[in-house]
């Protein structure tokens, strides 16, 4: 048996069910490794003591019918967890302990999982490098001083560094897929409405989706099966019949039509990304898929559209952090002064930048030119995909236009930072499912990902295509454990 922490979710659950491993052993192994991995800074808050207790409790009365029997899991610190501090990576929620549980995390615990702790992320999920977190950078286990991507950077790093078997992140414009791509892991953003948003600290409500982040596609299907559910507490949750994703997982993609959108060949795209994409196409062909050139004509407008819609919603969603009811408060002589001091001191620069953009685009006199126009363009982007999906079953693109970059490299250049999401953002705007799988490496040996985009509610199909490609690609993440301390 290989080292516990390097095992996949599938292996761990099998070993537990076959009583080869106990929940206590597994939990302890991950905690021990975490204690030696502080340099990565993946945890904002750990739940180790309680996790040990819970694992013992599981072992004393195990239920092997559950889908995550006694499996310890760390989650992004954007999910509200009952009794465990939830910060959203922000000073303004530094002292916030929810009295309630998000639906998605509740789904994990209901299937036997145990909370290991809360993982670092960009402040309010705004960022592509985990550098906007109040709790500091996260190191990418792939290489020192490399960003893990964002906003689910703590999550991607934790999976890649074997600090949690799997995790869940949230994806508003690429926050699951981009960090997965940067760390050589798998990340899936489900169809909008698939996973409940109840209890997830909101960034941009019409775009936010929770999703699995895992070592491989099979684990991804197992986790999606647990977290995706209809929830009456979220009015945008959709009631549809969800697949048994792990049971129905299949490498047989013969005859599947896969679209290649010409607009994703952007200027200055590194050759290695171009090559990666070509390889992906040929693997798909090898699997019997049919490759079809398609056009998504409004792709160019996706990023500017996103950077109007998302900040607009965020500016309103973040108004509740005012120092009145919970979280950080900086006292003032009067209400306005308290607001100003609380929000100036409580929010970081990137969050403030987006609140200002959002406030501006919603202001009277600008609303029509920005917000309303962006909503119209969003419909056009959606229509592009509708049209494409009348011809193809899925779309294959690179996940990101580059591999992981150095910490600090782009912090003073927001636009270049925003460009990271150029391939992922359109999928959120269209509400579609998308998955990033590791597909190769660049000249520095840093991982690169490919993205498979599906029709609404067609997660099974993109999981199957990814499963088939994963097999052909046979990616190996060589991570040296360079950060470990004694």
């Amino acid at each position: 048996m290989s080292d516990i922490t390097s095992q996949s979710l599938f292996e761990l659950t099998s070993n537990i069910k076959e009583k080869k491993l106990s929940s206590g052993e597994i939990t302890k192994a991950f905690i021990d490794r975490a204690e030696k991995s502080k340099k990565l800074n993946v945890y904002v808050t750990d739940n180790f003591e309680k996790a040990i207790d819970q694992s013992k409790k599981f072992d004393s009365n195990p239920n092997f019918d559950l889908k995550l029997p006694g499996i310890p899991i760390a989650v992004k610190d954007l999910f509200c967890t009952n009794g465990v501090r939830t910060t959203a990576g922000s000073k303004i929620l530094n002292n916030f302990i929810p009295t309630y549980e998000s639906t998605v995390t509740q789904n994990l615990w209901s299937q036997g999982a145990i909370l290991l702790g809360k993982l670092n992320c960009d402040e309010f999920a705004m960022g592509s490098s985990n550098e906007t977190s109040f709790f500091g950078n996260v190191q990418n286990p792939v290489g020192e001083n490399l960003v893990p991507g964002g906003s689910s950077g703590g999550s991607s790093a934790a999976v890649a560094a074997n600090l949690t078997p799997v995790t869940i992140g949230t994806d508003t414009g690429g926050s699951i897929r981009q960090p997965a791509s940067f760390t050589g892991t798998v990340g899936l953003k489900p169809t909008y409405g698939s996973c409940s948003r109840y209890g997830i600290v909101a960034f941009a409500s019409s775009l936010d989706q929770a999703g699995p982040m895992t070592k491989n596609v099979r684990d991804c299907s197992m986790l999606l099966e647990v977290i995706s559910s209809f929830d009456q507490k979220d009015s945008t949750s959709i009631d549809y019949k969800r697949n048994h994703y792990s049971k129905e997982l299949s490498k047989d993609i013969k005859g599947k039509k896969i679209g290649i959108p010409k607009e994703y060949r952007v200027d200055n795209m590194p050759d290695e990304i171009e090559q990666l994409w070509k390889n992906g196409i040929s693997y798909a062909k090898d699997c019997g898929a049919e490759i079809i050139d398609i056009s998504l004509p409004h792709t160019n407008y996706a990023l500017p559209t996103y950077y109007i819609v998302a900040p607009a919603e965020a500016s309103s969603n973040l108004a509740r952090y005012d120092g009145v009811k919970y979280g950080f408060r900086s006292p003032g002589q009067n209400l306005i002064e308290m607001y100003e001091k609380t929000r100036s001191e409580g929010f970081g620069d990137e969050v403030k930048r987006r609140i200002m953009i959002g406030t501006y685009v919603l202001s009277s006199g600008y609303y029509d030119a920005y917000y309303l126009k962006a909503q119209k363009v969003r419909q056009l982007i959606k229509k592009d995909f509708d049209d494409a999906f009348s011809k193809v079953d899925a779309i294959l693109t690179p996940s990101t236009p580059s591999s992981a970059f150095k910490i600090g490299e782009k912090t003073n250049d927001p636009v270049s930072m925003y460009l990271n999401d150029i391939f992922t953002v359109p999928i959120n705007l269209a509400g579609l499912p998308g998955i990033s799988i590791p597909a190769g490496k660049d000249k520095n040996n840093y991982p690169l990902g490919l993205q498979v985009i599906g029709k609404p509610f067609d997660e099974q199909n993109i999981l199957n295509i990814s499963y088939a490609l994963e097999d052909k690609i046979n990616f190996k993440n060589d991570i040296s454990d360079w950060w470990l301390s004694e």
């Binding site: 999910f79 509200c80 939830t86 959203a88 929620l93 916030f96 929810p98 009295t99 309630y100 998000s102 948003r197 109840y198 209890g199 997830i200 600290v201 909101a202 941009a204 409500s205 019409s206 009456q232 507490k233 979220d234 009015s235 945008t236 607009a312 919603e313 500016s315 309103s316 973040l318 108004a319 509740r320 005012d322 009145v324 009811k325 919970y326 209400l335 607001y339 406030t359 919603l362 202001s363 009277s364 609303y367 917000y371």
Partner: protein, 488 residues
């Protein structure tokens, strides 16, 4: 409307007309709030009816309360208005301590109810007031500034309670019309059970838009909005004061600034709250947490079929079926409790007498004791018994008033009072004849005068006979027998 009833404000040979539009905020009658399951009960301890959604905790999401939607549709139907099958909830963004989300969920561009109308019964005829729209929105909490000397306290019990904002067209022209309009609106909603209309508890408040123009002008003047007035009396005072302020400005050759004003009830004047330049930019946009609201025709039909008879229809029925005057009918239908009381009384008794007794004696008692009809000291059952005693001649109308005065004390049965006090009317012709004989005997001089042509002495004899009967003599019988005796 006839000319002389117009409400005009005079200034040196000039007459100004006052234009009024109302935005009424009516609390939806509902057990729970618009987007959460918290109770809406009035008067609870501060912050005891607050859910995580109402207090805007991170990750909390609004879920629409379908009952409130049905209540809004019902109200829309009651206002003879168009129900919009698709409407949208928007966020109205502003910061305030008692607004936990930092935005109010409201409806901006696409309200649930469109144009409708309300008919006012004015002394000189009916007047139609147009309804512009009705939309649903959340109430805010309450900031309390006068308990702690150093801090403002916040009570979120009201936070998230469903309100209907009913916007009238600028069709109102006088404080009297405003009075009748508010009462009519309240009456309709109380009939429907969609708002209790309780102004003391803040269930009904209004923003009042006022402008003035010279009589005969067709263009509207610049309007000012007076925020959050919570009684009809204050609305009327605010309108008069604000209209005069505007006219004074015009008379001095000055312009009126479009602004939001507050009414100071102590000084009976409005003062500026914020100018147009300072107006909030609410940055309305569709709430991404809520899907557009879609209402099926089936639901509308179902609600329509549940709509009770409303004041206008009831009034028509009362006039047609019971032959009431429009004035009587208007009074009786103005409040659902009153009309229910009336209909209860007339189940077993005479309509004409019931109308007179309810609008006369009973209303007088209620007024005097400051009671609602639901708290009436005399039940409909006992009042109808009393009316029957009059109708069948057991007691006279005059005696009935004495009996009624006793009934007030603990809703006593009039039959028992009449029996115990021996108030039964004397209707035996023999007994009447006897006492009339006595009167004729004792007043032979007057009889002589009468017979010689002094006809008006007849009343004197009736009075004497009544006196002789200690008020219990049947007046019709006394009349009849007296005539026979004196003329025979």
């Amino acid at each position: 409307m006839s000319k002389n009833s117009e409400y005009l404000i005079e200034r040196e040979n000039k007459q100004y007309e006052v234009i009024i539009g109302l935005e009424v905020h009516a609390q939806v009658t509902s057990e729970s709030k618009l987007f959460s399951q918290s109770s809406t009960k009035f008067g609870a301890e501060p912050n005891t009816q607050v859910s995580l959604v109402d207090a805007a905790f991170p990750g909390m999401l609004p879920v629409i309360n379908e009952f409130c939607i049905e209540q809004a549709i019902k109200t829309g139907i009651g206002l003879k208005a168009k129900i919009n099958k698709k409407s949208v909830f928007d966020r109205k963004n502003y910061f305030y301590a008692d607004l936990p989300q930092g935005y109010q969920i409201s409806q901006y561009k696409y309200p649930i109810v469109g144009e409708g109308k309300v008919i006012l019964d004015m002394p000189n005829g009916q007047k139609e007031i147009g309804i512009e729209r009705l939309h649903l929105e959340q109430d805010a909490g309450k900031s309390i500034h006068d308990i702690d000397p150093n801090n403002t306290l916040v009570d979120l019990n009201r936070s998230g309670v469903a309100l209907m904002e009913i916007v009238s067209k600028p069709d109102l022209r006088s404080p009297d019309e405003v009075n009748v309009y508010i009462k009519k609106l309240r009456s309709i909603m109380r009939y429907l059970g969609t708002c209790d209309g309780n102004m003391q508890e803040g269930s009904l408040r209004a923003d009042v838009n006022v402008s003035v123009r010279l009589k005969g002008e067709t263009e509207f003047g610049t309007r000012c909005e007076i925020k959050n007035v919570n009684s009809i009396k204050f609305m009327q005072m605010a309108i008069i004061s604000e209209a005069n302020r505007q006219i004074d400005l015009l008379e001095e050759g000055k312009d009126i600034d479009q602004e939001t004003r507050l009414f100071d009830t102590k000084r009976n004047e409005t003062r500026s709250m914020r100018s147009k330049e300072d107006a909030h930019d609410y940055r309305y946009f569709p709430d991404p947490d809520l899907l557009p609201l879609e209402i099926s025709q089936e639901l509308i039909e179902k609600i329509k079929s549940d709509i009770p008879e409303l004041p206008d229809e009831k009034k028509k029925r009362f006039i047609d079926k019971f032959n009431l005057s429009p004035y009587e009918a208007t009074i009786l239908v103005s409040d659902i409790e009153t009309s229910n009381f009336f209909e209860e009384v007339i189940k077993n008794s005479d309509v004409k007498l019931a109308t007179n007794w309810i609008t006369g004696e009973l209303f007088a008692v209620l007024n005097e004791k400051n009671l609602e009809i639901s708290q009436s000291p005399v039940s409909a059952k006992n009042l109808s018994k009393l009316i029957n005693l009059i109708k069948d001649g057991t007691i006279s109308g005059k005696i009935a008033k004495t009996v009624f005065e006793q009934m007030i004390d603990g809703d006593q049965d009039p039959l028992i009072i009449v029996k115990e006090k021996g108030l039964k009317q004397e209707s035996d012709p023999k007994a009447i004849e006897e006492l009339i004989n006595k009167v004729i005997e004792n007043n032979s001089d007057k009889v002589a005068e009468y017979k010689s042509g002094k006809d008006k002495l007849f009343g004197f004899f009736v009075g004497q006979a009544m006196k002789e009967s200690k008020g219990k003599g049947n007046p019709q019988l006394i009349n009849k027998i007296l005539k026979e005796k004196l003329n025979g």
